[in-house]
C-alpha cells in the first residue's frame, strides 16, 4: 500500500495547498514543501529498506512492492501498481526534482499560489502514477492525468507566448497519447482473442504472441507516444515552446520528469511488450537518436533565448537515452538510466538558474546579458558547474551516463557511436557559449542584481553534490536497477515466457507487509474513498474561482482553433 501513498500524498497535499491558499499566500508553499519532503522521505525509505534485496538475484518476480486493487473487473482493468528497481529510481528522481521545483518557485509565483501548487503537485502525482502503473489502462489514465495540470501550469503562469505553447504541448502529447491508446486497445484485443482472458495487466500481456505485422504496428503506436515525450526529432517541436514559456517549476518538471516518462515507457513497455518488432526497429531508432543528438546540439547553439537554448540541449541529451534504450545491453541501459537521472538534475538546475535570472533582469534574451559573473558570482559559478555537467565532464554524473551509452553502442554499431560521440563536441560548444554569453564578457548593461539567496544556493548545492556523487560513485544507482534491467532483458529475450516475471505471491506479501510496518507512522489510515469524500466536500464550499478561470482558458484555447 505504500505505493498508493506515493500517489495520494501529492494529490492530497495539492488539494490542501489549494485550500490553504485562500487564507495566506505563504501557506501553499509551506504545505507543498512539507508534502514533497514527506514524499522524499517515503521514497528514500523505500530505497533504503529494499536496497539489500534489490541486489539479490534470488528475488522471486520483479516487483519489490505491489498494490493490486480491483477497479473495473468487467474490462479487465485493475488498479495495479508495482515498483521494481527501475521505477524506484524514477520515483526518487521525481521526489527530488519535485522538491527543487517547489523550492524554486517560492518567490517566482505570486498569483493564484494555491492553485499553482495544486497543479504542480498533481502533475507530480500523475508522473509517479505513470512510473508505478503496471496496468495499461491505469497507465494511460495517469499518462493523461499529468497532461492537464501541466497545461494549466504553462497556460496560466507561463511567459509571453504561453497560450500557444500550452496548446502546442497539449496537442502534440495528446496526438501521441491517442496513438498509444489505439495500440493499448489493439494489444488488449489481440491478447484477449488469443488467450480468452481480456486484461490490461502488464505482466499478463507480456509475451503475447502475434503476427509480425501486428506487433510492428502496435509497437509503433507506443513508440510514437513515447517519442513525442522524449522527445525524438522530428516530433520535438512542442518542447522548445513549452519549456521556454513554462514557469520555472514547469520547466524543471518538464525537462527533469515529463521527458523521462517517455524514456521510462520505452524501457518498460515498448521493448518488453514487442521484443521482435523493437529489435527490427532498433536501427531506425538509433539513427533517429543520433540525428536528435546532433540536431539538438546545433540548433541549441543557434538560439538567442537562453531558456530556449537550454530546452534544445534536452533534445540532444535525450538522444543518448534513446540510443541506449535501443542498444538494449546492460551497459547501454544503465548508461541511459544514469543519463536520465543526471540530465534531470543538470538541466533542471539550468532551468532554475534561467528562471532566477529572468526573475531578476526580466529577460531571457542572451543579447542583453553579459558579464553577470561580476554581479552574481555564486549564480555564475553554479551555472558554470551545470554547464560543465551538461557537456559531459568526467567526474560528474552525466559523463558516466553518456560514456556507458556510447560504450554499449560501440558493440552494436561503430558508425553510430562515432557520430553520437561527435555530439559531445557540440555539447561543449553550446555549454561554453552559455557561460560566455551570459556570465563572461563585460557587464555592458550595468546589471546590478542580487546574487543567489540561501534558499537558491541550497537547491544548487543539493543538485551539485548529487551530480558529483553520481560522477564518482554511481554504483548505488546501478545496484538498484541492476535486477530490474536484467529482468527486462530476460523478458525481451527471444523465447521468454510470462512465468519468468510473475511475482510469487508469498514474497510479494512479505515485502509489502514489511514496508508498511516500517514506513507508515499510523495504522489508522483513511481510505482513499474517504479522501474523495473530503474533496467533494471542499469542492462544494470552494468559491470555484480557479476552476472558472481554467475552464474559461480552455474554452478560449479551443475557440482559438477557428
Amino acid at each position: 500500500m505504500i505505493l498508493l501513498w506515493l500517489i495520494v500524498i501529492p494529490l492530497a497535499g495539492g488539494a490542501i495547498a489549494w485550500y490553504a491558499g485562500r487564507f495566506r499566500t505563504a501557506w501553499p508553499r509551506w504545505i507543498s514543501l512539507i508534502t514533497m519532503l514527506l514524499m522524499s522521505w517515503v521514497s528514500v525509505n523505500i530505497w533504503i529498506l529494499h536496497y539489500a534485496s534489490l541486489k539479490e538475484m534470488d528475488l522471486h518476480g520483479p516487483w519489490i512492492l505491489e498494490v493490486r486493487l480491483s477497479w473495473i473487473p468487467q474490462l479487465g482493468a485493475g488498479f495495479h501498481l508495482g515498483a521494481d528497481g527501475l521505477s524506484l529510481i524514477f520515483v526518487l528522481l521525481t521526489a527530488f526534482l519535485g522538491l527543487a521545483a517547489v523550492a524554486s518557485s517560492w518567490t517566482e509565483i505570486r498569483e493564484r499560489v494555491g492553485f499553482f501548487y495544486l497543479n504542480l503537485l498533481w502533475i507530480l502525482a500523475g508522473i509517479i502514477g505513470v512510473f508505478l502503473a503496471i496496468d495499461l489502462f491505469l497507465f494511460y489514465f495517469f499518462w493523461e492525468l499529468m497532461l492537464v495540470p501541466m497545461y494549466f501550469l504553462i497556460a496560466l503562469w507561463g511567459h509571453e507566448n504561453r497560450r500557444y505553447a500550452a496548446f502546442k504541448f497539449f496537442i502534440f502529447t495528446q496526438a501521441g497519447g491517442l496513438l498509444m491508446l489505439i495500440s493499448i486497445l489493439g494489444l488488449y484485443f489481440v491478447h484477449g482473442k488469443a488467450a480468452g482472458d481480456y486484461s490490461f495487466d502488464y505482466p499478463v500481456l507480456l509475451g503475447t504472441s502475434m503476427s509480425t505485422g501486428t506487433e510492428f504496428w502496435l509497437m509503433l503506436g507506443f513508440f510514437v507516444a513515447f517519442a513525442v515525450k522524449l522527445p525524438v526529432v522530428p516530433v520535438h517541436n512542442w518542447l522548445p515552446d513549452a519549456h521556454t514559456e513554462a514557469p520555472t517549476a514547469g520547466s524543471v518538471v518538464l525537462a527533469g520528469l515529463l521527458l523521462k516518462t517517455g524514456a521510462y515507457g520505452l524501457i518498460r513497455f515498448v521493448v518488453p511488450l514487442f521484443p521482435r518488432a523493437s529489435a527490427e526497429f532498433a536501427p531506425a531508432a538509433m539513427i533517429l537518436a543520433v540525428i536528435g543528438i546532433i540536431y539538438g546540439a546545433v540548433t541549441a547553439f543557434g538560439q538567442s533565448d537562453l531558456k530556449r537554448l537550454v530546452a534544445y540541449t534536452s533534445v540532444s541529451h535525450m538522444g543518448f537515452v534513446l540510443l541506449g534504450v535501443f542498444v538494449w545491453s546492460e551497459l547501454a541501459l544503465q548508461g541511459a538510466l544514469m543519463q536520465i537521472v543526471c540530465h534531470g538534475l543538470a538541466t533542471g538546475a539550468l532551468f532554475i538558474i534561467v528562471g532566477a535570472l529572468q526573475e531578476r533582469i526580466h529577460t531571457r534574451d542572451m543579447g542583453r546579458m553579459s558579464g553577470l559573473w561580476e554581479a552574481a558570482p555564486r549564480m555564475a559559478a553554479a551555472a558554470l558547474f551545470f554547464a560543465l555537467a551538461s557537456l559531459g565532464l568526467p567526474g560528474l554524473g552525466n559523463f558516466v551516463g553518456e560514456f556507458l551509452v556510447l560504450l554499449g553502442a560501440y558493440k552494436t554499431s561503430v558508425a553510430i557511436t562515432v557520430v553520437a560521440a561527435a555530439g559531445i563536441v557540440g555539447a561543449t560548444v553550446y555549454s561554453l557559449w552559455i557561460v560566455q554569453r551570459v556570465f563572461h564578457g563585460p557587464n555592458e548593461q550595468k546589471w546590478k542584481i542580487p546574487d543567489f539567496s540561501v534558499r537558491e544556493m541550497a537547491i544548487m548545492l543539493a543538485m551539485m553534490l548529487s551530480l558529483i556523487w553520481l560522477g564518482i560513485y554511481p554504483q548505488p544507482v546501478f545496484n538498484t536497477s541492476k535486477l530490474a534491467i536484467s529482468n527486462l532483458k530476460m523478458i525481451a529475450a527471444p523465447g521468454a515466457t510470462t512465468e519468468d516475471i510473475r511475482p510469487a505471491p508469498e514474497t510479494e506479501k512479505r515485502l509489502a507487509d514489511k514496508s508498511i510496518s516500517k514506513t507508515t507512522p499510523s495504522k489508522n489510515l483513511p481510505s482513499p474513498l474517504a479522501k474523495e469524500g473530503q474533496i467533494t466536500f471542499l469542492w462544494q464550499r470552494e468559491d470555484r474561482r480557479d476552476f472558472i478561470i481554467a475552464y474559461d482558458l480552455l474554452s478560449k484555447s479551443l475557440g482559438g482553433l477557428r
Binding site: 522530428p234 560514456f403 560566455q436
Partner: protein, 630 residues
C-alpha cells in the same frame, strides 16, 4: 611511505574545494596559504613517496593503490586506483615541483588581481587533475584527469573573463582539444570492446597477446589514442589553440601550456607504448607529425612579435621533438626532454611574465628593449633558459636532452636521416628565434620604463628553475661525455630501452658536434640579425615572396583560416539560419492547412436560403443517383 600516494592528488583537490567555497571569506594571505600550501604539501609528499619508491623498490617496480570501485556494470569495472612506476614517478615529481614553484611565483604575481581566490582554486584543481592523469591506473580515470586539466586550461585562459577575446581563446582551446578527446574516447570504447578492460597494464598485456603487429585493431586503437594526444599536446593538425591560449596569465602559460598539461599527450603515448609498438604505421606517423610540427612551429616562432606567442610556438615545436622521439621508439629520451623542457620553458614563461608585468602588460617585444640592466636577475635567468632552449652545447640541460633525441632519430631502426635532418633544421630555428627574442627584449635601447620590479617570492622560483635548467642535463650524459644514464636506466623499469641499429652507435660524437655547431650557428645568426641589426632580415622580408612567407608564418601557416572556412563558418551559418527550427514548418503547415480547410467549409455556412436549398437539392440528386445506379 607509498601508502600516502593518494594524498598527492587529494591535497590540491582539497585546496581547490576550500578556495572555491571559502575563498571569498579568506584574506589574500589566507588564500595564498591554502593555494600554495596544498601544492607544497603535495610536493613534499611526492618526494617522500619517491624516496620510498627508490629506496626500496616494490616488487615489479610498480605500486598500485586501490581507492574504491568507481562503477561495475555489465563487466565494465573501472576503479579509482593509482599506479606508480618509474614513468609516473618522474611525471609526478615534475608536476608537483614545478607546480609548486609556479604557485609560489603566482602568489606575488597575481596579488593585485580581483579573482585571487578563484585563480588559486582553478590552479589547485589543475594540479589535482594533472596528478590524477599521471597516476591513473586505468584509462577511464586517466580520461577524467585528462578532461579535468582541459577544463582548468579553459578556465585559466579565460581567467580575465571581461575581455571577450580571452573567452574566445579559452573556448577555442577547449573545443579543439575536445575534438581530440572525442577520438580518444572512441579509442577507449574500442579497447574495452575488444580487450574487455581499461586497466592500463592489463590492456598492454592483452594487446600483445591478442593483436599481431600491424593488425587493424591495433592500428585503429593507436590512431585514436594519438588523436587525443595531438589535441592535448597541440600537434598538427590540432595545434591551433595553443598560441591563442597565451591570453591567460603568464603563470598559467608556464604551468599548463608549457610544463605540464601540453605534455600529457607525450605521457599518454609513453604510457600506452605497447599499443603504438603494435602499430608501426601509427608510430611512424607520430614521428612524422612530430618532425613536421617542430618545423612549422619553429618557422612561425621566427615571425611573432608577442613574446608569449614566440614561447607558445616554441612549446609546440619542442613537443614536436618529444613526439619525434616517441615515434622512433626513444621513449625515455622523450620523457627526459619533457623534464628539461618543463624546467626551462616554465622559467622562460615566468621571466616573460616579469617582463610583461614590469612594462604595463606590454606583450610586443619590439616595444621593449634594453631590459638587461633594469631587471638583471630576470635577464640572467632568462638567458639561462634561452640557452637551454637553444641547446647551448655542454652546459645546458636542453642540449643533452635534445642531443639524445637527435642521436636516437639517427640511430634507431625506426628513425631516418630525413627525420634527423628535420630535427637539426628545427634546432637551428630554435636557437635563431630564441636569441631573436633575447636580443630584441633585453638588448638595444630601453623604450619603456620599468614600473614594477619582481619581489623575492617571484625571483626565488625563477632562480631555482634556472639552476635546474642547467643541472638537470647532467643526469644523462652521452657515452662520449661520461656516459651517465640516470634517467634512462631509472625509466628502464617502465619503458623499453632504445634500440640502436648496429653501426650507428659510433656516430654519437660526430652527431653531437654537428648538433652543437647548428645550435651555435643559430645563435650567431640571431646575433648578426638582431643584435648587429644586419638589415638582411628586413630586406628579405621586404620582397614580395618574403612578405607573403612572413604573413603565412605569422598566422601559423593559415590553419586558423582553413578551419574557420571548413568548420566554424558552416556550423555558425547552419545554427543561425536554423534558429527557428525548420522542422517546425511542417507543423505550421498543418495549422495553415487546417485554417484553409476551415475557411473553405465556412463558406458553405453563409446564411443564404437559396444556397442551402440548392445544396439540399444537389444532395438529394446524388443520393437518388447512388440508390438507382448502384
Amino acid at each position: 611511505m607509498l601508502e600516502f600516494l593518494w594524498l598527492i592528488p587529494a591535497l590540491p583537490f582539497a585546496g581547490s574545494l576550500v578556495l572555491a567555497f571559502a575563498g571569498r571569506r579568506l584574506s589574500r594571505g589566507g588564500i595564498a596559504a591554502f593555494g600554495v600550501g596544498s601544492v607544497g604539501l603535495s610536493c613534499i609528499t611526492a618526494f617522500a613517496v619517491a624516496a620510498g619508491f627508490i629506496g626500496q623498490a616494490p616488487p615489479g617496480h610498480f605500486y598500485v593503490q586501490r581507492l574504491w570501485a568507481w562503477l561495475s556494470v555489465g563487466g565494465f569495472t573501472p576503479e579509482i586506483s593509482l599506479y606508480l612506476d618509474a614513468l609516473s614517478l618522474v611525471m609526478m615529481l615534475v608536476v608537483t615541483f614545478v607546480g609548486f614553484l609556479i604557485h609560489l611565483y603566482s602568489s606575488e604575481f597575481m596579488i593585485e588581481e580581483e579573482g585571487y581566490g578563484r585563480f588559486f582554486a582553478y590552479m589547485n584543481l589543475f594540479v589535482g587533475s594533472m596528478l590524477t592523469l599521471v597516476l591513473a591506473d586505468n584509462l577511464l580515470l586517466l580520461y577524467l584527469g585528462w578532461e579535468g586539466v582541459g577544463l582548468c586550461s579553459y578556465l585559466l585562459i579565460g581567467f580575465w573573463y571581461k575581455d571577450p577575446a580571452n573567452g574566445l581563446a579559452a573556448r577555442k582551446a577547449f573545443v579543439v582539444t575536445r575534438v581530440g578527446d572525442t577520438a580518444m574516447s572512441i579509442g577507449l570504447f574500442l579497447l574495452f570492446t575488444n580487450l574487455g578492460t581499461l586497466q592500463i597494464q592489463e590492456l598492454m598485456r592483452l594487446a600483445t597477446e591478442r593483436w599481431a603487429v600491424g593488425s587493424g585493431l591495433a592500428v585503429a586503437a593507436a590512431a585514436l589514442l594519438l588523436g587525443g594526444a595531438l589535441g592535448k599536446s597541440a600537434q598538427l593538425p590540432l595545434q591551433t589553440w595553443l598560441p591563442d591560449a597565451m591570453a591567460g596569465p603568464s603563470p598559467v602559460s608556464a604551468l599548463i601550456h608549457a610544463a605540464t598539461m601540453v605534455t600529457a599527450g607525450v605521457y599518454l603515448i609513453a604510457r600506452t607504448h605497447v599499443i603504438f609498438s603494435l602499430a608501426p604505421v601509427v608510430q611512424e606517423a607520430v614521428a612524422v607529425i612530430g618532425a613536421l610540427t617542430l618545423l612549422l612551429a619553429g618557422f612561425s616562432a621566427l615571425t611573432q612579435t608577442d613574446i608569449k606567442r614566440v614561447l607558445a610556438y616554441s612549446t609546440i615545436s619542442q613537443i614536436g621533438y618529444m613526439f619525434l622521439a616517441l615515434g622512433v621508439g626513444a621513449w625515455s629520451a622523450a620523457i627526459f626532454h619533457f623534464m628539461t623542457h618543463a624546467f626551462f620553458k616554465a622559467l622562460l614563461f615566468l621571466g616573460a611574465g616579469i617582463v610583461i608585468n614590469a612594462l604595463h602588460d606590454e606583450h610586443n617585444m619590439f616595444k621593449m628593449g634594453g631590459l638587461r640592466s633594469q631587471v638583471p636577475v630576470t635577464f640572467w635567468t632568462f638567458l639561462v633558459g634561452a640557452s637551454s632552449l637553444s641547446a647551448l652545447p655542454f652546459v645546458t640541460a636542453g642540449f643533452y636532452s635534445k642531443d639524445l633525441i637527435l642521436f636516437e632519430t639517427w640511430a634507431s631502426p625506426a628513425g631516418s636521416r630525413w627525420l634527423w635532418a628535420a630535427g637539426l633544421l628545427g634546432a637551428f630555428l630554435t636557437s635563431l628565434y630564441t636569441f631573436r627574442m633575447v636580443f630584441v627584449t633585453f638588448y638595444g635601447d630601453a623604450k619603456m620604463q620599468v614600473s614594477r620590479k619582481p619581489g623575492a617570492i617571484m625571483t626565488v622560483p625563477v632562480v631555482i628553475l634556472a639552476v635546474l635548467s642547467v643541472l638537470a642535463g647532467f643526469l644523462e650524459l652521452p657515452s662520449s661525455l661520461g656516459n651517465v644514464r640516470i634517467i634512462t636506466s631509472f625509466l628502464g623499469s617502465a619503458l623499453p630501452s632504445e634500440t640502436v641499429s648496429p653501426g650507428a652507435a659510433g656516430a654519437g660524437t660526430a652527431l653531437m658536434i654537428v648538433a652543437s655547431a647548428v645550435s651555435l650557428a643559430g645563435i650567431f645568426a640571431a646575433y648578426l640579425l638582431f643584435f648587429k641589426k644586419n638589415l638582411a632580415a628586413d630586406r628579405l622580408a621586404g620582397f614580395v615572396p618574403g612578405r607573403m612567407l612572413h604573413r603565412l608564418w605569422f598566422s601559423g601557416w593559415g590553419f586558423d583560416w582553413l578551419y574557420d572556412l571548413l568548420f566554424v563558418r558552416p556550423f555558425f551559418w547552419f545554427a543561425r539560419s536554423n534558429k527557428d527550427d525548420f522542422s517546425d514548418l511542417v507543423y505550421l503547415g498543418m495549422i495553415w492547412l487546417t485554417g484553409r480547410f476551415n475557411n473553405m467549409l465556412s463558406v458553405s455556412q453563409n446564411g443564404k436560403v437559396r444556397f442551402y436549398a440548392a445544396g439540399i437539392a444537389f444532395g438529394a440528386v446524388v443520393v437518388i443517383a447512388i440508390a438507382v445506379f448502384l
